[in-house]
Amino acid sequence: MTTAVPTADERIAPVGVLRRLLVRPELGAVVGAIAVFTFFASLSPVFRSVEGIANWLDPASTLGVMAVAVALLMIGGEFDLSAGVLTGTSGLTLAMLSAVYGWNIWSAMLVGLVLALAIGLFNGMMVIRTKLPSFIVTLGTMLMLMGINLGVTKAVTGSVQIGGIADAPGYDLARRMFAQTIPFLGVEFRVAIFWWLGVTAIATWVLLRTKAGNWIFASGGNAPAARSVGVPVARTKIALFMTTAFAAWLVGSILALRLTSVQANTGINQEFIYIIAAVIGGCLLTGGYGSAIGAAIGALIFGMADKGIIFAGWDSDWFKFFLGVMLVLATLTNHMVRRFAEEKRK
């Protein structure tokens, strides 16, 4: 057999750099983020100031952690509708054990983590075993958690809120790690922003540069084909549900430590926001395609719109309208870009 030498193929020249760039799933989100920033920055000087940036990065950060985890799960071909309410469950567990029962914050957080991972495992096992759509399975989990969050909180405290976390032993260190602010350019930035950046970086690395990342794309892209070449599809999907649960625990803990109290209805309706951010970031609803950076940028767009509308002096009711427009525009962009990038190259 003669060994052929790879040479640059003249047929790839015309598709070149432009298509390479366009084929990236996060393109729509990047364009959207620039547009949204330009829009609000031109309307409001506060928005483009360092204070303003610190302000809108905050909601983007906690949403971003969740959106990135949900994006991985969606690339793996599944949904998790219980993720929002699970941030509440994690926060309430932390609050209940520390404030009501006087536990050390760290022990309370550990129990919250174990509980969250167990719920993630439950979601994953149910989806794999029953072969029901994860949309239905996790909708069930969401409703159950909603009931438990309210029911248990009311039964234990007689109200729908648990406060007093700040008095628990270990609070100071926990606050420093998860809920403090860090001065930069004379402005206080929330430490959650760094968690967001860290989670995005790790998720991107896992997705693009590890075995597991290849398995995630394959499990969502075509599970039977992946299985036939030895990819552990069931394990991959269960791990993704547990990753989403881990993110929910992290965000639930960050919010609980920051506010020092937790409402029993925390996280309700957030699950769709995570999915929307992931879709704006380039994730396909059908799985097998998407990006962690894209989802992080999707969350950034949310943060900017959320605060930008207030800085611009509009009624915050317009936020939802804005969201709808962004979702449709981003999805359309992604759709067209993908078609252009993937059309047969002759």
């Binding site: 060994t3 193929d9 047929r11 540069r209 794309f217």
Partner: protein
Amino acid sequence: MSTETTPQPGGAGAPLLEVRDIAKYFGSVIAVQAISTTVRAGEVTCVLGDNGAGKSTLIKILSGVHQHDAGQFLVDGAPVRFGSPRAALDRGIATVYQDLAMIPLMSIWRNFFLGSEPTRGWGPLKRFDVEFAKRVCRQNLLDMGIDIRDPEQPVGTLSGGERQSVAIARAVYFGARVLILDEPTSALGVKQAGVVLKYIVRARDRGLGVVLITHNPHHAYPVGDRFLVLKRGRSLGEWAKPDISRDELTQMMAGGAELEQLGHELERDAEDSELAAVAREVGQDAKDLGIAP
């Protein structure tokens, strides 16, 4: 035990695979019964038969998806019973399924190494060796004579024939000794089918034993060394190439008299129809592409 593994087209030695009077039942359904055949290094064994003849069931036994209910299954002369496709793969038996082969949205090089990703580094920094994967993928496709424009291209943008070819190159790279192909040409046009048949010949020339399943004798005849014809789960016989002509094989498939009858009807119905021309073209194309002997 035979240790002679150098390719010997048409040669002797213990066959890579052998089944003797094998059978598989699904409840009361007899999917295959009393089937015997051999697969040797450097040879193409063709399994022919109409839809429902039991071709897929037979190769699913060989590839570890099903376990046989009667008869013997030998690998390198020793009886085996595979518990999973992975177990068959570990013995060098690789299967390329028509639809199961690839993940359309993933790039060629990611597909190429899916399930067997090369890694570098240790502990938490253990990572997918992307540079190696891209380089080796491109090189191996070229060595098989498959000229892919860009390994970053999603597999979904490849033609059906190119996709099959990549899957074959992949199996060869990962050390397959036996390559099983279930109807690799059935969804393809004449040209594309020719391309896939060419790669089957390449794999054979590299010393692999190939099992080619098809219901098209025009695809099987030019590349096959032996032909096993199934009908309703039973064997109509097995022939080495010198013992059967293309026409005889075609007749065998359709059940002799039935086909002759059909042929006459077709000729009567449409002297000038494209149908007859198509049938002749198929044979001619195979010759043009250099796969016919």
